[in-house]
Amino acid sequence: MALKPPEPAGIQVSRAPSSGAVTDADARAVEGSVLTTTVDRVVRWARRNSVWPVQFGLACCAIEMISAAQSRYDIARFGSELFRASPRQSDLMIVSGRVSQKMAPVLKHIHEQMLEPKWVIAMGDCASCGGVFNNYALVQGVDKLVPVDVYVAGCPPRPEALLFGFTKLQELIARGTRRRPS
């Protein structure tokens, strides 16, 4: 009796004739396991699922941002596993809190140090429009300094609101929409 090594279970061994022609079964197997797309879409998929924010907590909204990153409103499940301390290693700046006159150049500097592509979420009313404080000390909206992609309203916005804004940003990245010129 000829000894043959046993065929491992589960692996389809091709019985194709040695002529090399591709059968229908092969074509269907390939279609089921390969997808065609554009490079852009793959890159956008990768970018939107791994947006790393820079740690830029300024005031009260920062506490809700930290809560959004903790175990109840886990932001890591959306891909933001890490809030990087260095702007060079991050994609997203969540401006969480009020921007004072003294802090404005610092914010601009940090934003310039971030590498493209980068996005900005203005979290809270103070970052969006100056909020409750309409006075000499605060910049009335961070979009006077940096281009903003998503505004999340609230004082402070709930962590769920921030996550909603975050998913809006992910949709924006997926569509590849250019941000509106500010």
Partner: protein, 176 residues
């Protein structure tokens, strides 16, 4: 608070003080500017070891314009007392309280930043809250709040602080 210690201090400083105000159980002593360090020193001797707060009030248009307020606390027999100095508007300057209370350092910088009142003898009198090149002293009454008016459809744009306007002391209500 009117504790025995505050009363005792009020008596001790009675010679120095030019006025005494009492409202809701609190003692405020007004001393002239040239005797303020003496008053603070005596308060410290009397057990008021902590300078809890140092601030100023702009009483425009009343003259003298500024009142610099020192809030002192005695931790052992809990008591509080306020010592006030009235300062004129043109070239407001006071001696620095740092020799008596070292904690006055930042507090005096803040008063300088917000009101423009200088403190002689302060080692490092510069702005603390506003940017270093800021012009003006924000908490003065003639420094505007710098509000942007809020636009509503169909209404005249208003600044938020004008929505409920300032009303002065209530006039007596007419009898019903």
């Amino acid at each position: 608070m009117t504790g025995a210690a505050a009363e005792a201090l009020a008596r001790t400083l009675a010679g120095l003080a030019v006025a005494e105000e009492r409202f809701r159980d609190e003692v405020t002593l007004v001393v002239p500017a040239e005797r303020i360090l003496e008053a603070l020193g005596q308060a410290r001797e009397a057990g008021f070891a902590v300078l809890t707060d140092l601030t100023a009030i702009d009483r425009l248009p009343v003259e003298p314009r500024f009142e610099v307020v020192y809030l002192l606390t005695n931790y052992t027999t809990p008591a509080r007392v306020r010592i006030k100095v009235r300062v004129d508007a043109d070239d407001p300057v006071l001696p620095s309280a740092i020799p008596v209370y070292p904690g006055a350092n930042w507090l005096e910088r803040e008063v300088f930043d917000m009101f423009g009142i200088r403190f002689d003898g302060h080692p490092d009198l510069r702005r603390i809250l506003m940017p270093d090149d800021w012009e003006g002293h924000p908490l003065r009454k003639d420094f505007p709040l710098v509000e942007e008016p809020v636009h509503f459809v169909g209404h005249v744009p208003k600044v938020p602080s004008a929505i409920i306007p300032k009303t002065p002391r209530t006039p007596p209500t007419p009898p019903r």
